[in-house]
Amino acid sequence: MGKPRETVMARVLEVRAENPRVKTVYLDFAAKAAPGQFVMAWIPGEGEKPFSVSFCGGARIGLTVAAIGPFSRKLQELKPGGVLGIRGPFGKGFKLKEGKAAVVGGGCGSAPLGFLVEELRRAGSEVVFVNGAKTKSELLFAARANAAGARVIVCTDDGSEGRKGFATDALAELLESEKIDCVYTCGPEVMMKKVAGLCAQNCVDCQASLERFMKCGFGVCGQCAVDGMLVCRDGPVFPLSRLARLREFGSARRDACGSVDA
């Protein structure tokens, strides 16, 4: 059975604002997590949800959370000294490939990508971080990626910072002008579907981090299925070879009932 992955109440060490909607909660939780892996975070009486690990090291982890619903707002209201239930880390993260990397993030989908950029740089890869968001105030981890030594291309839908347009447009140009060995992406699924398509066209390797409604987090309940794949256990990061065969990638997801919203 291995070591059980029981819920541990982790102490909140620090809460830091990343942008007006997004905060990082740092926890006293020693774990070896790879970028792209996630934990289940439990607020007693409020619920439990999966969050990707955005910082990891020195016996602490960080979860970078956008204020979207009641649960994430409660999470953002945690104060140092408070506690959060954590189980995990779960799933398969990004596999660091040798060579030049392009990392493409959309909105709060960039949450695991600052960590990824740092790890890629540590492994010696040249990294281009395409950081896309609706508007300037929603950009996430551009400065962090820059500090890690990545070249950062900022794109906003409204042109309030960087180039005006989608991250996928910037990626398309990048793939035409430079030799990229692997593209790593996390963000809205429609964006990732486009990224995977561009990579397939250009014969460039790609990995995408998917998101689905989850319950167990460790591959038993089946709730997070995308075709026959379990996002929590087989993913959340999938390689292009798999993405290309997933019928539901970019087209269908299940709600808490298990109903398909196609």
Partner: protein, 306 residues
Amino acid sequence: MVELGAQLAGVELRNPLVLASGVLGVSAGTIERAAESGAGAVTLKSIGPKPRAGHPNPTVLEWGCGLINAVGLSNPGMEAGAREVEEAVRRVKVPVIASVFAGDAEGFAAVAETVAAAKPALLELNLSCPNVMGEHGVPFAYEPGSAAAVVGAVKARVRGIPLVAKLSPNTHLLSGVARAVEGAGADAINMGNTLGPGMIISLEARRPVLANKAGGVSGPAVRPVAVRCVWDVFEAVKIPIIGTGGVSSGRDALEFVMAGAACVGVGSAVAWGGPAVFRRIAGEMRAWMEANGVSSVKELVGAAHG
């Protein structure tokens, strides 16, 4: 040469291992994967009358010796559920078992009839979910009369598809319940559902961790209880049994067979071994049988009863 083939109420299985309901079975795609990973038959998650979100998270947890869950019968409702069954029957190369539930006997009959139209190989009646007592009262399988009423109501409406009654270990009337469902027309018994309900409390949070507070216990810790239940049911009835509860190795599976199970359910073990557990368990069964000169698993059904 060792023969792992099994038969359940007239349905042929290439091996006795059955993916238990509630594990992986939210979609046709996931049960197809379990089949490709070696399961002899696969069961979809229970389908009820209406779309249902179930309990809020946390719903499924690992603990020291197994799992505990209170998913609360989340399902997309019988129309969407029947479409999923239809797709599963079309795609999956081993027998597909559809599981159904409802709040009363007539509700069961209506859901069973709708789902039966999708032509699953077997229809399992979930009489034993321990996680909805607040809403549905005590599970039907705790008491012979209630269990028989559901089986009888479904039998009157569904023809041509064998019915499996999924029983509960949580009753002191188990033999009576088994005889009652057999008498009402059940073609097989799945023995059985999760144990308990149980509870896990976080000391630091000073609260139960499951949002539903209590939930069904499964995994290796429940196996001795489940084996004894299969033993009791085998003594009580003639219809074949799917023995379910904490199986994670070939030896575990053969223990259920010797207690009286024609087929063996596998559920929680998927949490530790992934869908690949089916191939491993079947291989371990085969190896034990070869080493012990047993040519067919059918010879071992009930062998421990002497």
